[in-house]
C-alpha cells in the first residue's frame, strides 16, 4: 500500500485549510450584509423560561443572567444606554425569584439608564419575594437615599435591614445617620445608643458616643426656653 508521507500531507492539509480561510473571507465579504435582528427579540418571558427548564429554573435564570451581563457590557462599552434592562432583569427574577443579585444589579443598571421608578419597582419586588434578606432592605434603603433623597423612607429600610439576623453592624449606623438627616433625632439617638452598647469596636463606639453627645446637646438646646422669646 502506498502511504503518503505524513509531513507533506500535513503541509497540504494545512495549505488547503489556510486557502479555505481566505476563500471564506471573500465569500463573507461578498455576501450582502444581513440586517441584525432586533436586540434580544427572542428573549423569552420568565414564566416561559421556568416552564422550559423542566424543574431547573435556576439554570436558565443563570443563562439569562449571563445574557444580561453581556448586554450590559456591550452597551457599557458603546452607548451607555440600557433600555431593555428592566425587561431582562424582570425575566431573570421571574424565573428565579431568589436571585438577589439580579434585583440589585438590575436596579443599578436601570437607575443608571435614567429610569429610577423601574429600578425601585424591581427592588421592591425583590423585597416582596425575599423579605428575610437584609441585603434587599439595605439596597432599597441605599437606593432611596441616593436616588430619591427620601431620608425617612431610606432610614426605615435601613432599620428594617438592621433588625434582620446576619445584618452587619454598619447597617444600623446607616439607619441612625439617615434618621438624623431625616430630622428625627429621637430615633437617631436611640439607634446610636444601641450601637454604642452593642459594638466591640472601640472606634465605632467613639463615633456612636460622639453622635449621641451631639444629638443630646441639640436636644437640650431645643428644650431650653429662649429668653428673648424667639422660639415662640
Amino acid at each position: 500500500m502506498n502511504r503518503a508521507a505524513p509531513i507533506p500531507l500535513t503541509i497540504v492539509a494545512a495549505l488547503c485549510i489556510g486557502l479555505a480561510a481566505r476563500a471564506a473571507g471573500e465569500f463573507s465579504r461578498r455576501q450582502a450584509p444581513v440586517a441584525e435582528p432586533a436586540e434580544l427579540v427572542l428573549f423569552p418571558s420568565g414564566r416561559m423560561l421556568a416552564e422550559m427548564s423542566l424543574g431547573h429554573p435556576q439554570l436558565l435564570a443563570d443563562a439569562a443572567w449571563l445574557t444580561a451581563i453581556q448586554y450590559y457590557g456591550k452597551h457599557r462599552l458603546t452607548d451607555r444606554r440600557y433600555p431593555l434592562a428592566p425587561q431582562i432583569f424582570e425575566v431573570i427574577t421571574q424565573a428565579d425569584p431568589g436571585f438577589r443579585n439580579a434585583y440589585l444589579f438590575g436596579a443599578l443598571v436601570t437607575a443608571e439608564d435614567g429610569n429610577p421608578a423601574a429600578a425601585e419597582a424591581l427592588l421592591r419586588r425583590g423585597l416582596e419575594r425575599n423579605p428575610g434578606s437584609w441585603q434587599m432592605h439595605f439596597e432599597l434603603g441605599f437606593f432611596l437615599y441616593v436616588y430619591r433623597r427620601s431620608m425617612p423612607e431610606a432610614a426605615r429600610a435601613f432599620e428594617q435591614a438592621a433588625a434582620l439576623p446576619d445584618a452587619p453592624e454598619y447597617v444600623r449606623r446607616f439607619a441612625a445617620a439617615s434618621w438624623e438627616r431625616a430630622e428625627r433625632p429621637e430615633i437617631a439617638l436611640r439607634l446610636w445608643e444601641e450601637i454604642a452598647v452593642r459594638t466591640d469596636n472601640a472606634e465605632v463606639r467613639r463615633i456612636a458616643e460622639s453622635h449621641r453627645r451631639a444629638l443630646g446637646a441639640a436636644g437640650a438646646a431645643r428644650a431650653t426656653p429662649d429668653p428673648a422669646g424667639r422660639g415662640r
Binding site: M1, N2, R3, A4, P6, L9, T10, V12, A13, A14, L15, C16, I17, G18, L19, A20, A21, A23, A24, E26, F27, S28, R30, Q31, A32, V34
Partner: protein, 255 residues
Amino acid sequence: MTPILSLARHTLIDALRERLLRMLALFLVVLLLATRLASPLALGEGRRVTLDLGLGLLSLFGFLLVMLLGTRMVQQEVEGRTILLVLARPVHRIEFLLGKLLGLLGVVAIGLAGMLGILALALLTAGYAVDASLALAGLCAFLELTIVSALAVLLAASTSPILSAFLLLALYVAGHLLHGLLEMARLVSQPLLAGALKGVFHLLPRLDLYSSALQAVHGTPLSAGTVLWGVAYAALYTAGVLGLALLVFRAREFA
C-alpha cells in the same frame, strides 16, 4: 477512479436501502404539520414561515443524515470485516476515504433534492410561488453539508461512532456560532489570546456563511461570483479535512 466510484456506490446503495426513505417521510410529515400549524398564525407571512421552516428542517435533517450515516461508516466496515477485504485489494486509503465521502455526498444530494421537492410541493399546494432561489438555497445547504460530511469522515476515521457523533454535533454548533469568537478576540486585551481565538476561528468550519447565503430565498441578491467563492471554500476546506482524515486513517491498523 474505479475503486472510489464502486465504494461510493456501495455507500449510497446501503443508505438508500432504508434510512434515507424513512428520513424523507419524516421530513414530509414534520414539514406539513409545522407549516399547517404555523402559517395561519403568521398574519400574511405564510410563505415566509413555510420557507423558513422548510429550509430550517432541511438543514437539520441533512445534518442528522450525515451524522447518522457518516460517523458509523468506517466502524461498520471494521465490524463486518469488509475493510480487510477492501484494503487487501490495490485500494489506497485515500481512495477508501474519498469513496466513502462521495457516497455520503450522493446520499446528501438525493436527500436534499427530495426534501426541496417536498418543500416546493408544500409551497405550491398552499398557493405560494416557487422560484429559482429555492435551488440556490439547496446548493448552499449542499455545500454546508459537504463540509460537515468531510468532518464526519475525519471523525469516523479517528474515533468511535458515538464520540464522532458528539464531536460532529459540537463542530456543527460551533460552526454556526463563530461570530462570537471573533467578537471575543476583538474584546480581549492580551494579543496572544486574541491571536489564538482568531486561529480557532479560521480553523473551525464557517458553516454560518451558508446560513447567511440562504437569505437568497428572501430576495437578498447572491451573485454568481459569491456562489463560486462559497464553492471554493467548501472544496478547499473539504480537501484539507480529508488530508487530515488520511493522516489519521493511514496510522490505523486493522487486524
